[in-house]
């Protein structure tokens, strides 16, 4: 069974507006790595919102691991929480994801709710800080960090939940050269660990490194 199945999805933000996605279909198997490319306005971010259960298509079906994802199904907190635990989403603008007082709290926010022991939680947070070299910033306020640092914190906070599907909107944009190669390496490792990756990126090098399958998106006329 495929992890993601989209069948003829049509989505528009308002009834009178033209659709952003029209009759769009896609299949992603567990462990796949897929890079979406396309011009601005091609519907990449909209697709990501649909895949995260934030927007719901007017027509068509979205199944995640066999379960059809609908507004009604997600209304039940238990369903929504289990679903969000399995899907990690890095916003295109990571600044909009950070709402805690310190970087450490930001990363601990998700895993703290998972009923882990104190030690396990501690390990997770420290591991995630180390993964992105954020140790020195741990007690700083995310609000005051630079754009690149914010991106790292946001990604660390997502990875701390250990999701099996990672949806990353422009993960390399705004990072310096060193951070780019670091992050590329990390994504490669995650891929090898069996995570499913779905990226929107314009970075050819990253796609090559990951051996990602390319999917060209165009806006519907």
């Amino acid at each position: 069974m495929a992890l993601i199945e989209l069948d003829n999805i049509t989505f528009s933000y308002a009834p009178q507006e033209p659709p952003v996605l029209r009759d769009f279909s896609m299949r992603v198997e567990t462990g796949d790595c897929l890079a979406l490319r396309g011009d601005n306005g091609a519907g990449k971010t909209t697709l990501f919102r649909v895949l995260n259960g934030l927007s719901f298509p007017q027509r068509g079906q979205y199944r995640f691991d066999g379960q059809e994802i609908t507004q009604a199904w997600l209304k039940k907190p238990a369903h929504a929480k289990a679903f969000h635990k399995r899907v990690g989403y890095l916003f295109q603008n990571p600044e909009l994801m950070l709402f805690n007082a310190t970087v450490r709290e930001e990363i601990a926010f998700g895993p703290r709710q998972m009923g882990l022991s104190k030690d396990e939680l501690q390990t997770r947070v420290e591991d995630c800080l180390a993964l992105f070299g954020l140790e020195a910033l741990a007690e700083k306020a995310p609000y005051h960090l630079s754009g690149g640092q914010k991106k790292k914190v946001a990604l660390a906070a997502v990875l701390a939940l250990n999701p099996e599907l990672l949806i990353l909107d422009e993960p390399l944009a705004g990072l310096d050269r060193g951070s780019r190669s670091q992050l590329t390496e990390l994504l490669e490792e995650l891929r090898q660990a069996g995570k499913t990756l779905l990226l929107a990126t314009h970075d050819d090098a990253l796609c090559r490194e990951l051996g990602a399958e390319l999917l060209e998106m165009t806006a519907p006329e």
Binding site: P77, K81, K85, V87, F109, D127, N162
Partner: protein
């Protein structure tokens, strides 16, 4: 090297509750933003100048509030309901819903009084009716009058330009900051996968970041004003 726990796939059974405050806040904000967008784009069918509408509304509200004559109240009700009845159904409901809610609330609030002092019942019912009619009137005005026309009307009433400027800015900031809150609450929801024992931390976080951004926005506006040659002449605004 990624840590061992990240290499495994884990099973997790979340608890089935919580997060109601964020869901409700999101809903309220979503409604607000949609409303403001409608507010900006729409022209009324009743093409009175906004200034007239504003004065008419004030006069009607005052009459309604002062009047005790059943016939006058009935006439007002007939006028307002008659006009409302010409609206398309969807719009009609969005005008009536808040008014009905307020009227029911008023009846509930007045219920003990009606039981205690039966002789005052008539007045109490009239009060609930007045609440109903006034809210419809306010709703009709703001459904059919874009915001920029209301501020223009305020200028015509010689309300100081500084004040109108602040009003316009406020509405702009409400859209910007409201959007920020929606995103923050959404991001929180995506990571709130279990039992949140520190809900007030999230509340403080979302509103705190919103405040920080509000000061940043105001500073940027100020700088942009200066860059375009603003000379602290607030009277000329």
């Amino acid at each position: 090297m990624i840590p061992a726990w990240m290499q495994k796939k884990e099973q997790f059974a979340p608890p089935g509750d919580g997060g109601a405050f964020a869901v409700r806040s999101l809903k309220a904000l979503g409604g607000l933003l949609a409303r403001v967008r409608v507010q900006r784009g729409r022209e009324g069918r009743l093409r009175l100048p906004a200034l007239w509408k504003l004065l008419l509304l004030l006069a009607l509200l005052l009459t309604l509030s002062l009047s005790r004559q059943p016939l006058l109240l009935l006439a007002l009700a007939a006028l307002v309901l008659g006009y409302a009845s010409t609206l398309p159904p969807g719009e009609l409901w969005s005008v009536l819903k808040p008014a009905l809610g307020a009227a029911v609330l008023a009846l509930l609030l007045l219920l003990p009084a009606m039981l205690l002092w039966p002789e005052g019942r008539g007045n109490n019912l009239i009060l609930a009716g007045k609440v109903f009619i006034s809210i419809i009137m306010v709703n009709l005005l703001n459904r059919h009058t874009p915001w920029n026309q209301i501020t223009r009307a305020l200028r015509q009433l010689h309300v100081p330009g500084v004040f109108v400027f602040v009003l316009d800015l406020t509405l702009k900031y409400i859209v910007l900051l409201g959007g920020l809150m929606v995103e923050l609450l959404t991001a929180r929801g995506l990571r709130a996968v279990g039992r949140d024992r520190h809900k007030y931390r999230s509340v403080g976080g979302v509103m705190g970041v919103t405040f920080l951004r509000s000061t940043e926005l105001s500073r940027q506006t100020w700088e942009a004003m200066c860059c375009r040659g603003f000379t602290e002449d607030y009277k000329g605004l």
